[in-house]
Symmetry: C2
Subunit: 199 residues, 2 copies
Amino acid sequence: MHPNVDTQQRILDSARELIYSRSYADVGVADICEHAGVKKGSFYHFFPSKRDLTLAVLDAYYLEIKTNLVAQAFAKDIPPLARLNRFGQLAYMFQKQALKDTGRVLGCPFGNLASEMATQDEPIRAKVEQIFSNLQGGIRLVLREAMAAGEVQDIDVEATAQAMLAYFEGVMLLAKSNNDVEIMGQLFPAMAQIRISPR
Amino acid sequence: MHPNVDTQQRILDSARELIYSRSYADVGVADICEHAGVKKGSFYHFFPSKRDLTLAVLDAYYLEIKTNLVAQAFAKDIPPLARLNRFGQLAYMFQKQALKDTGRVLGCPFGNLASEMATQDEPIRAKVEQIFSNLQGGIRLVLREAMAAGEVQDIDVEATAQAMLAYFEGVMLLAKSNNDVEIMGQLFPAMAQIRISPR
């Protein structure tokens, strides 16, 4: 691998791990560089600021979740509403693994950053809004198929998709605040049953 | 008013406002003292640390929300499930006012602190867990009355109360991340319809 690409990737991976397990504010550029084993000068060669790195971290998370969670959960081998339940189950298994690795339920990386930074950093807020909109779009497609298959009737598809995403985020937040991953196992099955009626 | 009580209260009010509109990490003791118009020495006379002040801030928030939101929403002048809808409506109105005052949807003060601090500060995490447990207890009482009144049948009351709290928190988080208070108006009506079946 080209050494520069490797350095950039190590900074990104390091920031990802540290910010997810702690918070945006608690992790400084020096922490990220030390954890990545790179010099501070290298950091600013690749990223103008911690914020820019964090935007790249959010993109990297989204790509991973899209590939390893959304694509697997929403695969068309099972009926549409069952895919939403599979989404919850996979997220639960992922958090269980994180708990095993770190001793903590870490919550949702997008929800965490939105919650901490939305009122303070507009580019970070806007990036999370975009990611949430993409996730909502994925749920919307599943709901459209559920309607076509007769699994659901007479719903506001857009609002229902957003309500399901809100529930997902809230369950992740409660699991984190209680440091109890089993909350996810118990509460996620209700996600696919949420309905918002057309106005 | 006794001057010391006044100083302590001003420190508390100042921390409350600053942490809620920004974040725990972004607000230092110096910021709190400057905003409150008190000397740094006074701060440590009343609070051993920013964490201790934050625990007091969480208590103050909880007391206010219990008095001005929960007590009003859950008053017994209307049927039980309608009280849950009133809870959502009052929270929506409160956030609308905060948006008018600050230009930002600030989210839930408990969810915000849990999301930022749960993995980093055990006393703050435990305090938010306790507050969430109290709020869940309030919803549980409403659900018990709803069962007695025949409004709901065959649910796991404890898990359903927690699911409703999770949904509430998730809607608050999405409203904050999108800086869009109308999400609350649109999504909260689905809260009272969430059900978790007995295992």
